[in-house]
C-alpha cells in the first residue's frame, strides 16, 4: 500500500458526496438507517392515507352480495359495472330531470369561478402594485379573514340572504363564494414578485392600468388563476347547501346524497356515487399539481 492509494481512498467519498450534493442540492446527507426509517414511515402513513380511498374504488365495482358479505372483504372478486348502471337508471327516475342537477352544479361552479378570478385578480393587482391610504390595513383584514370560514358568519349571512330574498336561489351560494379571501390572498402574493420595471415601461408606452393588468400581469400569474379554478372546483363540486331548498335548485352532490340515503338496497349505488364524487376533485389535482405548487411557493406570510 503506498501513499497514493491511501489518498485516493480518503478522496473517494468526497467525490461521491459531491455528486450526491449536486443531485440533491444539499450539503448534509442522511445515513442509510435514516433513509430506511423515513421510507418505512412514509410507507405506513401512505397506506393509512391511500387504503380508504382504494377501498372506495373497490366498493364501487362490487356486486351487492359482495358488499353485504360478512365479514367484509377489501378486494373485489367479481368486478361489475352494475352499480353505475343502477345509478344511471335511478337518475332517470328522479323528481326533476337529472340533467337539472348537473346543470345547477355546472352553472354555480362556472359563474362563481369566473367572477371569483376576475374580482380577486383585479383587487390583488391593486394591493400588490399600488400604495394608497389604507392599502396595508385592507390587506391585514383579508389575512385576518382567512381564519374564519363561513361558519362564524353563518347566522348574519342567513339573515342577510333572507333580506335580499336570495334564499332558494343559486345567488345565495354564488355571491358569498365569489369573495372567498383565500383567492385574493394567493393571487396578491403571487403578483408581488413581478418586477415593477416591466409595469413602468408599459405605462410609459401609454398603457392604462387595465391594459397593464390584462396584458402583462395576467399572463404571468397563470399558475395562480389555475390554482383558484382548482380550489373553487373542489369546493363547489361537492357543495350541498341549506339555502337551496326546492328540488329544481339542488346541486348534483345533494341529489347524490338523496340517492344514497335509500338504505341497504342502495348500497351498490352508494359505492358508485362515492367514486363519482371523489374522482373529480382528485383528477383536477392530478392535472394541475405543478401549477398549484408553484402558486403555493409565494403563499408565505411576511411578518
Amino acid at each position: 500500500m503506498n501513499s497514493k492509494t491511501t489518498s485516493s481512498v480518503t478522496y473517494r467519498p468526497d467525490i461521491l458526496t459531491r455528486i450526491s450534493r449536486k443531485l440533491r442540492g444539499r450539503k448534509v446527507s442522511r445515513g442509510i438507517a435514516d433513509n430506511l426509517l423515513s421510507i418505512l414511515f412514509l410507507l405506513i402513513l401512505g397506506a393509512f392515507m391511500a387504503l380508504p380511498l382504494i377501498y372506495v374504488i373497490f366498493n364501487a365495482f362490487k356486486p351487492l352480495e359482495e358488499l353485504l358479505l360478512f365479514p367484509p372483504r377489501f378486494f373485489v372478486t367479481n368486478p361489475t359495472t352494475q352499480n353505475f348502471k343502477d345509478l344511471f337508471n335511478l337518475m332517470n327516475e328522479t323528481w326533476v330531470p337529472f340533467s337539472r342537477y348537473v346543470a345547477n352544479t355546472v352553472f354555480i361552479t362556472a359563474t362563481t369561478t369566473f367572477f371569483h378570478i376576475a374580482f380577486s385578480s383585479m383587487a390583488a393587482f391593486v394591493l400588490a402594485k399600488h400604495v394608497f391610504f389604507g392599502s396595508r390595513a385592507l390587506f391585514k383584514i383579508v389575512v385576518l379573514s382567512l381564519m374564519f370560514n363561513g361558519v362564524v358568519t353563518a347566522v348574519p349571512n342567513y339573515l342577510l340572504l333572507a333580506d335580499l330574498n336570495w334564499i332558494d336561489t343559486s345567488l345565495a351560494v354564488i355571491v358569498p363564494a365569489i369573495q372567498a379571501p383565500l383567492g385574493l390572498y394567493l393571487m396578491k402574493q403571487f403578483m408581488e414578485p413581478i418586477p415593477n420595471s416591466i409595469l413602468e415601461s408599459a405605462r410609459i408606452d401609454g398603457a392604462g392600468e387595465f391594459r397593464v393588468m390584462w396584458s402583462i400581469i395576467m399572463p404571468q400569474v397563470k399558475p395562480a388563476w389555475l390554482t383558484l379554478i382548482i380550489l373553487q372546483m373542489q369546493a363547489l363540486w361537492g357543495l350541498s347547501s341549506n339555502y337551496l331548498i326546492s328540488e329544481q335548485n339542488k346541486t348534483l352532490a345533494m341529489a347524490m346524497q338523496q340517492i344514497v340515503s335509500g338504505g341497504i338496497a342502495r348500497m351498490g349505488v352508494a359505492g358508485a356515487v362515492g367514486l363519482v364524487m371523489m374522482v373529480v376533485p382528485i383528477l383536477t389535482f392530478v392535472l394541475s399539481q405543478s401549477q398549484v405548487i408553484e402558486t403555493m411557493s409565494t403563499s408565505g406570510m411576511k411578518e
Binding site: P52, P72, M278, M296, S299
Partner: protein
C-alpha cells in the same frame, strides 16, 4: 379643483378594480362578523327584533349551558390534538419527500393530499370503524388482543371523539401541506453550502437553523390554514357520529352553533357562540404566530 379632478381620473381605474371584490367582501364577510358581535349582546329570535341584554348570552353560555361546556371541551381537545399533529405531520411528510426525485415526489404529494379533497369519501370510515367484530378496526385490535370485545366506535361516548380525531388527521394534509412542499423547494441551495461551512453537522441542525427559517412565511400561512380547520370541525362529526352525537360526546362549538342558529333560530345566542369561537381562533393564531417567530433562534 382641476387638480383634484385630474387626480381622481388618474385613480379611477384603480378604484374600479378594487370595488367589485371589496364591496362583496365587506357585505358578506366583514359586516356579518360585526353584526354577529352586536347580536351576541342581544336577545333575538325569528319572532322578535334584537333587544340589548348585555352579557346575558355569555353568562348563560358559560354558567348555565352544560352542553356548550361539553362542546367547548371537545373543540379544545380536538384543536389541541389535530391542529399541532396535522401541522407537524404536513411538515414532516413534506420534508421527507423533498429529497426524492420529482416523479416520486409528485406521486407521493398526490397520495398524501388526496384525502383532504376527497369530500364525501369520508363515509368509507363507517366501514373501517363499524361496530361489529368484523369491522376492520375491531377485528384488527381483537386479533392483536388489545380488545376483548368489539367497540361501537361512533356510538360509544368514551371513544367517539378519538375516532373522529383519527379521521380528521387522515384529512389533515391539506393546503398547508402544499405550501410546505413549495416552501421547501424554494429554499436557496447556497444556504445549505454556507451552513456546512459554518459547522452544521447533522440534518436536524440543518432543518432548525437553515430550512425552517428560510420557509418561515410558509410556516405562518400553514398555521392559519391549520388553525381554521382544527377549530371549525363539524361536518365529519355530524356525518360519522350523527347529530346530536351520543351523550354529546362529539358535539363541537360549531355543531352547537348550527343547533341554535339554524334549528332553534335563537340568533342572539348563536351569535354569542360564534363570537366565542372567533375569539378562540384569533387567540390561538396569536400564540402560534408568536411561537413561529422564534423558529431557528
Amino acid at each position: 379643483m382641476g387638480y383634484l379632478l385630474k387626480q381622481f381620473k388618474k385613480r379611477l381605474p384603480v378604484i374600479i378594480m378594487l370595488v367589485p371584490f371589496f364591496s362583496l367582501f365587506f357585505v358578506f364577510t366583514v359586516y356579518p362578523v360585526l353584526r354577529s358581535m352586536w347580536y351576541s349582546f342581544t336577545y333575538y329570535n325569528v319572532f322578535t327584533t334584537p333587544e340589548f341584554i348585555g352579557f346575558d348570552n355569555y353568562i348563560r353560555l358559560f354558567l348555565q349551558d352544560s352542553v356548550f361546556l361539553t362542546a367547548l371541551k371537545n373543540t379544545l381537545i380536538f384543536a389541541i390534538i389535530t391542529g399541532p399533529v396535522g401541522y407537524l405531520l404536513s411538515l414532516l411528510v413534506a420534508w421527507l419527500i423533498n429529497d426524492l426525485s420529482p416523479k416520486v415526489r409528485w406521486f407521493l404529494t398526490l397520495v398524501f393530499y388526496a384525502p383532504s379533497i376527497s369530500g364525501a369519501a369520508v363515509a368509507i370510515w363507517t366501514f373501517v370503524f363499524s361496530a361489529d367484530r368484523h369491522g376492520y378496526a375491531n377485528s384488527f385490535l381483537l386479533q392483536l388482543g388489545l380488545l376483548s370485545e368489539p367497540l361501537a366506535w361512533f356510538k360509544d361516548p368514551r371513544y367517539v371523539l378519538m375516532t373522529i380525531i383519527v379521521v380528521q388527521l387522515w384529512m389533515s394534509l391539506g393546503t398547508s401541506f402544499l405550501a410546505f412542499i413549495a416552501g421547501l423547494q424554494g429554499v436557496n441551495p447556497s444556504l445549505y453550502e454556507a451552513g456546512a461551512v459554518e459547522g452544521i453537522r447533522n440534518k436536524w441542525q440543518e432543518l432548525w437553523h437553515i430550512t425552517l427559517p428560510a420557509m418561515k412565511p410558509q410556516l405562518m400561512f400553514g398555521a392559519v390554514m391549520q388553525i381554521t380547520a382544527a377549530f371549525s370541525v363539524s361536518d365529519i362529526s355530524v356525518q360519522l357520529a350523527g347529530f346530536p352525537s351520543v351523550e354529546y360526546a362529539a358535539h363541537t362549538i360549531v355543531t352547537h352553533l348550527q343547533d341554535y342558529g339554524m334549528i332553534r333560530f335563537e340568533f342572539g345566542y348563536a351569535s354569542a357562540i360564534a363570537t366565542v369561537l372567533f375569539v378562540m381562533m384569533i387567540a390561538a393564531n396569536q400564540i402560534v404566530q408568536a411561537a413561529l417567530r422564534r423558529v431557528g433562534e
